[in-house]
Assembly symmetry: D3
Homo-oligomer: 322 residues x 6
């Protein structure tokens, strides 16, 4: 269950209205790297952890709830930046004689120009935030990801924090308002904090590579295909050993010839690795048993029905701490 208190998590303030920056800031309200995306991604992922991984569930819900609180900070800032728009729209004088009231044609020109910056603020939402990015694309659940596997989801979350941090960094270039910058800097910093929380959680799960259960095929896991010819380079991504599996990279310089010679890679052989078909099978079996057990044993119910919360137990833990 959620609760709301009317205090913001951060004391968001604004020096003066700024329709233009309000438009840019929408990127973190309803954009693909913004606060709603983060909040919903962690919230939705959390359902699968509730039973088998209550500690990760706790962390995901702590962060998801903070992201909802950040969404509120961003929305509040946009609302303050739009101060005046709503009042002007309720100015019925416009029907007959706006020009006069706004001190001449130039004033009206400015007003219309502002509307062109983001028409939605003026003709649709009436001077309030819209759940879109900075050019007006409506927020979409295609932004959120979750695979039902913690080592996968935590990596996706690190990506989410990464891109959110970048957008806040970029946004700071487009306002001179020190109060707004103060809020942006706080929000940017929290993405860095969450990044490290997800990273720590990922490290706490072993093994965590590859994501999921199944091992990779040693015949193909360390091949590097030189598919883009011309100015070619060497780097740790095609020379030396891979970081996770410690296999020696094998560069295929002429992919077409190689593919034909190996009958479409069917006759490919392992090189530069100690892993074998047998070691892969053993690893698959071992990890599968472990992970499947973790999940399945939490699904056993004593009374033949499933419930999400046990209200009496929770009462206890509330009173005695944990």
């Amino acid at each position: 269950m959620f609760h709301h208190v009317k205090e913001l998590q951060f004391n968001a303030r604004v020096s003066k209205p700024d329709v233009r920056f309000a438009k840019l800031l929408l990127e973190q309200f309803g954009g693909p790297n913004g606060e709603l995306k983060a909040a919903m991604q962690y919230f939705v992922q959390a359902f699968g952890c509730r039973k088998p991984h209550p500690d990760k569930y706790d962390m995901l819900m702590d962060i998801a709830t903070e992201e909802f609180s950040h969404l509120e900070i961003v929305g509040a800032t946009i609302q303050m930046l739009l101060t005046g728009v709503n009042g002007e729209l309720k100015n019925a004088a416009d029907e007959s004689d706006l020009t006069k009231m706004l001190d001449g044609k130039a004033a009206k020109e400015n007003y219309i120009h502002d509307a062109m910056i983001n028409p939605h603020f003026f003709v649709v939402s009436g001077g309030t935030p819209t759940l879109t990015d900075s050019v007006g694309n409506p927020w979409s659940a295609t932004y959120i990801m979750g695979m039902g596997d913690l080592t996968a989801d935590l990596r996706l979350n690190i990506g989410a924090e990464t891109s959110a941090k970048m957008v806040y960094e970029n946004l700071m270039k487009f306002t001179d308002d020190v109060l707004v910058k103060e809020s942006l800097r706080y929000l940017m910093t929290r993405e860095v904090a969450h990044f490290q929380m997800f990273q720590a959680a990922l490290e706490s799960i072993q093994p965590n590579f590859p994501p999921g259960i199944l091992q990779s095929d040693p015949k193909y896991s360390n091949k590097y295909f030189n598919m883009s010819k011309g100015e070619d380079f060497e780097g740790p991504w095609n020379k030396g050993k891979s970081l996770e599996l410690s296999e020696e990279w094998q560069v295929i310089e002429e992919p077409l010839q190689h593919v034909i010679e190996t009958n479409g890679l069917l006759n490919e052989v392992s090189k530069g690795t100690d892993r074998t078909e047998d070691s892969v099978k053993a690893a698959n079996k071992k990890l599968s048993t472990k992970r499947k057990t973790e999940v399945d044993q939490t699904n056993i119910t004593s009374n033949g029905l499933m419930s999400w919360s046990i209200y009496e137990e929770q009462m206890e833990s509330e009173h005695h701490g944990n």
Copy 2:
């Protein structure tokens, strides 16, 4: 700021897994009439009310927060209905010999058939809810509406509660699980409760018709154009007086002829109404002054900057009640 507690607002329970009903129930998790739509619609609308209409802000945030809590109930129910899917996906034996483990071909057939019901549960989300409707359309912010005007927004919210109620009513036909039905009935009932809250709030604003500020043109406000010929009917929508403006309906039986005769309605005249161009202007001016003042006076700041929350005052109110 939001808070979360691990108890659900309602004790959602499930008797046994049911992938099919989990799919249908997605409609209220990530569908256009579902809980997220409601929660986000009221949450986004609330920003514009924070200053000028703190009482409506309080109500919108009370209901928005409850809808987030309902979203959690729906997600928890889907997760329980999907029990077993995640564990099975972690079953590495599948690579070599699923048929045997699942007691023969029939079992595998059932498993594949279940996957066809909603492939996302099986190949993407790993047995957890997805933020889509029942056929897989990702949730979209096109579902939410707000016009920056309370008499408009409250009507849109009545519409939102209406459609949400209908979907719960329909869903009840597709499960026999009495525990699930119990939750559905609770959720359906809350839509009815919210409907009446928004209705009461709308009545508390006067005048509340038409939405917005500007009055309608009496030349056109009570004309009924018979645009669909054939089996024609009379009803209170084209005979008698209109409910809000008490104008006598005027039916235009032959729209084309009428349009030509009035030079494209430019020469239309008022009939069946007491309203005049002058009364419209006066009403526009009066309402505009009132509503603009309400909004503008809340934007005045003493110290030249804008803030959303006053932390000390809130502390007071927390301690002394209100």
Copy 3:
């Protein structure tokens, strides 16, 4: 069957081209609150009424057809506002020497600046309307709603007319062209007229609350959860009696504590209402019988097949009036 005549329903006129206002006006051509949304919403809802509710079918098709005619008015106005764009795009001189023809660099700058206002007009649609909103989002059927239940659909339609009215009201602030304002005012007024038609139709159906068939659960229908703490308010939405069911609002000041004490509301009891589990069942049964019968009896066919129109009967009614 539809017919078209080349006269517009309203004599839409324009004083001079205005690319900027053309962009804003797109909101009512291809936007979520615009004419196509209204037209398609009523048109699609009408199919379900054809047999069981021929009077409502007649009304829905009268209004849907008028909305299509309004869509044409909006499109025609945009086209006139874009006068000159298409011709200039066919100016091949641009390839070699536009600067000269446009009287210097300043002219070209203006032309490019206009293109930035809405690139689609210049590089895609060639100076004709596009089926998008004012920022370029393509029209989407997610905008239209219908639940197969008249008391629900009519409420959704009241919402549609509400938001359409607001957009026209807002648009009037952004043009000085008195001819364009004339059309906007006509279109805005018709939304007010349709609002009242749907309202009258809704009142003509009894009972019309709640939407659908099933009654709400009296244990939960009048509870108000105080989910947003801080500055709390009382109003008719949480104090006194609800407007439809006349139940006394019951405020839950501490939702978490209440939920725990009632075992997740399972042990909740009714208060402030006369409705009982039995009265709910009786009401459900009575209304269900009535509504199901209305629908089912119109599906009975004499000759074992279904047809939409009976051409001979219609011929009669054409010739003898109705």
Copy 4:
């Protein structure tokens, strides 16, 4: 202005309900190749033709209006195929005892299975058509195209009729209902008729190649780059003369080598064509003058304002024919 009559353009009939085929048929109601796409594409294109090309405007509006009438036929057929769904949803008995009413568990199973075919029919639209394709994607204006140029638009319309014809052809495989097939065959045939109307209109414009104004560059217009190596073929698309420009195809067998040798094609030379830079310029100038004049001269107004319809003239033409 549109009008509606309650007779369908075609006597659509159905032998018995069929939820499955109703789902498939949605493809032509709200799908990318369906009736709404065609109707809206021609309707939107028509605005740009109103003044400069009144004959093509007439044709586009004739066909657009017919497509709206076909949309109605498709919707009516879906509605008839869904007969019974709406009534069953109003069956309140379901709450307590559907199993009994439906003659046992098997009946309920069938009902649930039907809901899985297309959940939207059962839990959202209440047994009425939805404006989606057969898998539930909402109709989108990305489906419609128009470039503000008749030789382009007519070719796009030929494409639209082509794909619509294919879908009807495919649909016929999935129903045994001879009455439904009768309607499908009629609708399929009309796509073939419209195809030829657009083709005739395109031929009536000369020159009509290339679409638009600007001629192609003779250095690049007849080169064929062999970008996909392996099993290579010759055909009239890379051997002989091109159909419109009668230029001899020039195959570039080794694109990379050729690009390097010509400094990225900057040093490319014309071959196999009589067209020159001068002939291109002359053709551009001639066609530009012609087309620009056609458009511009229709924009001249005598009284300094623009209107879409002249009501008096139309009255005349109504009375005296044309």
Copy 5:
């Protein structure tokens, strides 16, 4: 398999950065008529041709691969037009003192104004192309079409080349950079070349009308319904013979009356055509046999399994030519 070389197919160059034109050019990078649309449409269509129509497969893959190479040219041009944006975003001085570094407030104003042109370049993509159209709509697979039938697909491809040509023609009006125009002209010309390739391929298939297999119904194939009344016109689309079927157009001047008289067209009769129900059946059977055989015979496998490529054979053809 694809390969990449770092040389562009055309030597794309830019004289100076231009954020505004970069925005417009996005239309051909990620827009509905752009290079990715073309590339993906032909690439996806090609799968169905691989076995039954290897010559058309070769052509589709030649052109698809060229379109991918054009996508690269467009992206490279946008990247060069955005030169400087990325560097400025990495300018940390902005946090404390951008105003000073940018030589005063005017410079910052210009920078912010540029960001308003396309916020995505500045706050999201960091000065690199985005896969959107010019107003920011993300590229969508709704843009691509393919019906699994060559006479249909080739016509759709002619449409795709038509609209792409138009956009390049329009774009040339909005830049003075002769180097950029050089690239645009090359790209525009290639659309004209591809148009003629698809046209030639379509002509090489006989019969190619109508698309697909099934013939149209002679009762309805040459009727022209006058659905839009007022200023009516005659043209080759409603007078004389249709171009493909050589049937005499039959105008229905009064559709409503005609529909009623023919019992909803069920009693319609053929006129102005030699085709009969029997000739239609014969044509259907003949063409069906031919086309079905073409497809089916390529699906026969000798060893009971299906493979896409035969590597040894390809090696042969590589070495000995074809």
Copy 6:
């Protein structure tokens, strides 16, 4: 420039048609975690690296091109799984007598049932792949991400490989075809290989934390807000030191009280960290100078114009290796 050869990179084979698995496999053809997403994400990111980071450009284009080649493998597999569908759709006999040809009603039932699995295959694409996910959502560019910053983009790419790996792992559960599994295993393994390439590239950039330029604020970077109350847990994400910044986690057990006491965190102080406001400024300045220089110096041109490729130099490198 891209090239194509008709050999697949992997010898994809199929034992027998399987419409159901073809549907599931669409997830990796046109789904959000599939091959097109990966290919386009790396391809689009590469533009920004071309000049400043040619080694990373080489790697991104190598992998992007391989992903396009994998897209082809997936599409080819789907096409083979759909063998027979296209031929059957060309079977005109269906119009009159499919029942007979298909050996009775049961056969037709199966055919219709198959169509319900994925209607697009049968009524739209004619038995060829569609660019959608497994439930029919069209591919959308919202799936791809890039921030114009390598340390951000490489982390996003690690996320992309993670989710793609998971989908292949899940897909293997739904087919018994050992040939198809062989291809899936190859494709899954390549995601693991690419994961490690991006990881190695990320490690080769120092410092690589946080992504972008700006350091986090030490007042907020190590706070952990306990926003979800109830069953609380400790882990390395809220206890001990953070992995990147080595700051001691500080748990805020009562967020509301803390926020009020710190005046909305404005009075927050640093704890558990050595970083200071000064060290942050110094780090920002140092990194900014380095990264800005890297980007800017590659933008300097000798001749005053920008080009993407230098054809002569490339020729050299082709001939002499690199």
